[in-house]
């Protein structure tokens, strides 16, 4: 799964942050998982727990928050959620979006005016919202 690639990026970013702050260890990391990318939390968690061994993050607690995907049309201003348009997406499309969330513009349009010029306001992909280190 490409979740491993994401987990690898998360851990390397955390370790770089800790190094920059001359931290002794990493205590806690909070990761936000956007609904649109639909990554498997269990795999990211497993990969992180495997990869953190032998690093200063080996005792860190990784916690996850799932974020609902919200879209806003740039043309008419309408706001909608992923679940409102889920019936427009088949399994293959969901898989495409899983790898490159931005291709959502290929598959859905504004439910009100039909424009494909919309913003993913929240819940696009994976990011780190908090890193707690020990000095």
């Amino acid at each position: 799964m490409h979740e491993w690639a994401l987990a690898d990026g998360i851990l390397k970013t955390v370790l770089e942050f800790a190094e920059k702050h001359n931290a002794k260890s990493v205590k806690k990391v909070t990761i936000v998982l956007g609904e649109l990318q639909d990554v498997e939390l269990e795999i990211v968690e497993f990969a992180l727990n495997e990869m953190k061994k032998g690093t200063i993050a080996q005792n860190a607690e990784f916690s996850f928050k799932e974020e609902e995907a919200i879209f806003k049309c740039r043309n008419c201003g309408y706001t909608w959620k992923l679940k409102d348009v889920e019936n427009k997406l088949n399994g293959e499309m969901r898989e495409d979006i899983h790898f490159v969330p931005d291709v959502v513009h290929t598959f859905i349009s504004c439910p009100k005016c039909g424009s494909r010029d919309f913003e993913v306001v929240k819940g696009r992909g994976v990011y780190i919202s908090e890193i707690v280190v020990e000095d």
């Binding site: 799964m1 490409h2 690639a5 690898d8 390397k12 931005d102 290929t106 010029d117 919202s129």
Partner: protein, 246 residues
């Protein structure tokens, strides 16, 4: 908020010896054909090659190579770029199902970062990047994330190209990027780009004669190599392969 994908990009390209973005100021100068043909020739010369099509709005490398894009690239701790004509190939078309993908700047940048963060090139001698024309998001992201890129600039002798090429070269020079040189494509009689290369102190990699028959070879990779276009690019590929310091 910290984006963890940026670190992943470094990791994914760490075993790539040389990264060559193929750029131009203007569209329609033959970047995609030059990129795909360079990849084919370097592979034939025995090198391990990857081709990344970053021209999201005008992706065409898969058309030139007649690549099968019906299946998603295989997943294994990332994504393994499929082999096409003996080299590794990655393009957004695998994920957009080759449909129109209207993206604005931030979305282009996000898609680029995502593709680069998940694609496992492993060991390569050359990663050729087919760039969109101009100085927009993709070029700025390459300047930001792939500082060791060695740029190949494609231009044509048209007076419409010259002014834009001068600006592009000025930007790359100002940003202290390594420029391998300029390819002058679609030359009918007189070269105009040699003078620009000399003025900017950039290597003139060679001229590629205008080949009226090249369109007939699109989609048949082997045929491209036997065209006059293919033969001219071969001389340039040999020059590029010799220019490495390893």
């Amino acid at each position: 908020m910290i984006d963890p994908r940026v670190k992943a990009i470094e990791e994914r390209t760490k075993d790539v010896k040389r990264i060559i973005p193929v750029v131009s100021g203007k569209g329609g100068v033959g970047k995609s054909l030059v990129s795909a043909t360079l990849s084919l020739i370097l592979k034939d010369m025995g090198y391990k090659v990857g081709l990344l099509d970053l021209d999201f709005h005008g992706a065409s490398a898969h058309i030139i190579l007649n690549a099968d894009i019906s299946k998603l690239p295989e997943e294994e701790k990332g994504v393994i770029p499929p082999e096409v004509e003996g080299f590794k190939f990655m393009s957004i078309v695998f994920y957009s199902e080759d449909k129109a993908t209207p993206l604005r700047g931030i979305e282009i940048s996000d898609a680029l970062i995502e593709l680069m963060a998940i694609t496992r090139w492993n060991t390569l001698d050359f990663l050729i990047i087919d760039m969109p024309p101009g100085m927009g998001d993709q070029l700025l992201d390459i300047l930001r994330f792939l500082k060791r890129g060695e740029f190949v600039v494609v231009a044509t002798p048209s007076p419409l190209t010259i002014n834009v090429v001068q600006k592009l070269l000025s930007l790359l020079i100002e940003q202290k990027m390594k420029i391998l040189g300029i390819i002058e494509n679609m030359v009918r009689d007189l070269s105009t780009i040699k003078k620009i290369a000399a003025e900017k102190n950039v290597e003139y990699l060679g001229e590629v004669k205008f080949d009226p028959n090249i369109d007939r070879s699109i989609g048949r990779a082997k045929d491209i190599l036997t065209t006059n276009f293919g033969r001219d690019i071969k001389k340039i590929a040999e020059k590029i392969s010799r220019s490495g310091d390893y």
